[in-house]
Amino acid sequence: MGSNAGPKKTAGEGAGPTVKGVRIGDLLVRAGLLRETQLTEALALQKSWGARLGDIVLAKGWVRPFDFYSTLAAHFGKPFVNLIKEPPDTSLFVERDLPRYSELLVIPWRRRGGATSVAVADPTPEAMAFISDRFGSDAEQVFTSKFDIIWQLQHHGDAYFSELAVNELAASNPLQSARQVFTSRQLWSLGLCGALGLASLSCSSISTLILFNILVALFFLLNFGMRSLLVWVGGAPQIDIKVTDAEVAALDERELPVYTILVPMYREAAVLPKLAGALRRLDYPLAKLDIKLILEEDDEETINAAKELGLEGIFEIIRVPPSFPKTKPKACNYALNFARGEFITIYDAEDMPEPDQLKKVIGAFAKASANTACIQARLNYFNANENWLTRMFTLEYSLWFDFYLPALEALKIPIPLGGTSNHFRMPVLRQIQAWDPYNVTEDADLGVRLTQHGYRVGVVNSTTYEEANSRVGNWIRQRSRWVKGYMQTFLVHMRHPVDLYRSLGHVGFWGFQFFIGGTVINMLVVPMLYGIYSLWLFSGTRMLEVAFPHAVLYLSLFNFLLGNSFLVYIAMVGAFKRHYYSLIPFAVLSPLYWLLMSVAAYKALWQLVHDPFYWEKTTHGLSKVDSSDIMGPVADCA
């Protein structure tokens, strides 16, 4: 993208006509679009980043895209067209090529004199080869801005891209899509179990209750055992892919690939400036960032706010046209069509990733096995100490991301990815048809799907700080969506349990049962047990004794006393490992937090039946804590 470019040469370089061989940087200076000092700095950055000069000046926001691309056209001696004023002839569009247009920043513009004029923003050899292949060797090139191409593609290709975003997975692999909530076989199985349970209850109610108690007690015992194992494995000093500061410093920025960052947002105009600041602070060559602000077309407020910010060229606004289901994964799938990175990640609007996260991920991929397709960064909260709920939420997250996920990875159990900061190799993500738009925890589902396809998911020692929900209602909405998504994920992958067993192996299969299915069952059963216990405690009734023969009673007592104590303890340990010392005493309040989870779980169950694809939107920006005031050190234990 300019004759001062780095390793990736443009087609015009050294071959095409130029403005008397004047380099693009000099042209920009001569045109008064770039200052001399900026050019000097850009050239220095070009040397250290290995990026193209054009990408650098756009990433820095020193030159407006329109000015840059018109200068680039002059540099190559080609005409420049403004696609907004002179729109393309859409009859020339070939629908199946739309993703390639987006990838190569090429678009057929008009037919002139029997030849096709092709608008191009980045005349790379791949783009030239594509033009020649699709439009003939006599195709004429005109230059335009990449933003014009993206806008035109979105404008005219929205139906196609929407269809891809919504139905690609469901059409090509319906068994792995949550579009159908229950299969008929699953419904029959559920009905049969229910009928058997009722029949048994009517024939022999006491024996049935005893059997139920035995099953529940054994389930909790195994669940306790599983979590103990995860804490033990997750507590190992070298459990996750650790990338040291020295390794980060040793990375050659010239070798770093283009990195796409997706930021799905909805009605979050207020957090935009902070988000842009956090992304700018990333320790990664800006010119190699491909940031997509994914906004819903009806969200005028955020779109306008983004426009008003006058963001640099690395930021692109992707407007997602309205279609059902209105979910984050659908929006991400839509934006994926415009992504150009070798790696891709997702951040939420309020996220504060550690600045060196992208580099750490690159380092982690380099260290990981070849089949590692995704690296999950740890998530935690910047407003942990805001109130009781944020404290409990932080305790939970610390345990989840600092112990459980690394342990799941080590044990080769499918990892339910966190909502953000999961970093993918782009080709693999595309190959498995990206996110399931019908699943409301698409990330968890994707983690399992990747494992089923023979890929691995790793965890890296870098944290993204998010905003913990500080209000109970909002928290329940968010959690109910997560639990509903877990239910969907469990139902999807358990459509053919034998196949799942074959693809995951016994450890992976049982790990999936307990970590995904077990988590949901746990939340649903806990209130029943609390209720039975309260009834016994406060009424002193002996009626319940018949349902608890001695062996069952002992097992239940073991679970109640040691199991619960252990779960409280590991919450403490999670905070301890993360040096959130002030949160440790709050771990004893975990049972109340579990109860709150159960409320969300029942809401999720209700929604699974009545409104399975409804996306419970979490409101962000409620915290009174300044996100820049991140609490505590980020380092691992000692």
Partner: protein, 497 residues
Amino acid sequence: MRDLFAPRNLLLFLLLAMVLGGCTIWLLAHNYINDVSLERCARLQAILDAPQLRFENLGLVYPHLPFYLLMPFFFVPGLSPVLAPYLTTIVVGAGLLVIWQHHLAGQGYSAWFRAGLLIAVVAHPYFLWAVTAGTVQDALSLVLFYAFYRTLTLLAGERDIRSFIVLALILATYFFVDERAVFLFIALLPLLPLVAPRRMIRESPLSVYAVVTFPFLASVASWAYLNWIFSNDPWLFWNSPESSFRGGWFRAPDVEWLRLYGGMWLKPILVSVGYALIAFPAFVWLLARVRRDRPLFAASAVLFLHPLIAIGFGTMKYFITHPMAMLFLFSSGLMAGMSLLPALDRRGRRGALAVLLFGVIGGWYSLNWAPDPEIRQWRDAFVGEQLVPRHQGDIALGQWLRNHRQATLMDENGGFRVIVARGDAKSLMLSFSDEFKMALKRQVPNVEQIAIPDPAGVNATGDRIDREYPLLYSRGMENFALVYDGGGWRVYRRKEM
């Protein structure tokens, strides 16, 4: 880990088990029988012979894990249950020694040196007591404290989160193994800052304590909860006269150590330091050896101070009856210390062996000072003295009851030896059974037969039948005839109507 089960280690295990077994046979052949182990056997026999197997029938005033370890031996055909505690301690002791040898081998020591260390440890009377006296909790304490001290040393050096978790879980488990846990737990608290990472202690000392102590406190709270639901008194395990958690509290006047130092804390510590220096001079050597390695020195200092502080606190609360009851843990500490010490040179190896062997002599010598009656018996039997068989009256009654198998009301707290001598507890109405509780509510128990100890005798302590019917032993009861009288026991049988 796989190496641990290598054939050479299995062979070593068998060899050690034979050695420890030989020592135990020698002790038993000289009429040594440990009362605590006997009582545990009787309790286990009683609940296994009860119509319904209920764990609460074991009583909630003892740590339970040793009971569960004994249980499998009760199902071995032809094996007398009395031997179960001895076999358990032998297995545990030999296992610990093999693990230790395995760790030493990892240090690159020669087989000869390891054998020398092994002999020096096994010959020490404090270690021998723990693995041959049939006190399962002592043998298990050795194992747990070996792991505990190794973790402590690792924590001082590596500071990973796992070490904290292991440390905390060992303490939590220990509460269910041995009554001493409470005192050792409290003794650890002032020492924790010595081994915990400085940064953590500086930033949040409370969090370090919370993470290390919570599981132990949860164990105590769980036990209190179980006491509450099964006996309506959450603190029964602490308040009951039968509680082993109180150690020598209820028999303090009979115990020489408690007569001398009971209620004090500094003096018993100072005296125990004397014991420690005589019986374990190797600790001085160890501390001198690691004086320049701060984490190792801190950890070794904790190994040395921990049981001593526990002795001070335990004596103050009239719990321990002899410093050896805590000092035997030094064996574990030394073993752990040796296994983590940087590899010794030739001079260091000689020095280690020399101080350990001195300790063996000092240890045997120290047993002469204010020994607990149980320890005295063990020592006498070990040196070849034929002990006078004790509790003949109990044995005689047990044999008599074996031949007169009527349903008999009896309190096993005083009659545990009777149960062991009888060989089973079938048709006995023991204190945990509903029949026993119902019977004692009546003015005249509706039972076939009642066995009652002499209220003035040692078996009467805590005997509920004596307490409920204070005149029964001396005067009998309406409609009951005296059918057995001897050895401090009487049996009354309901007259035929």
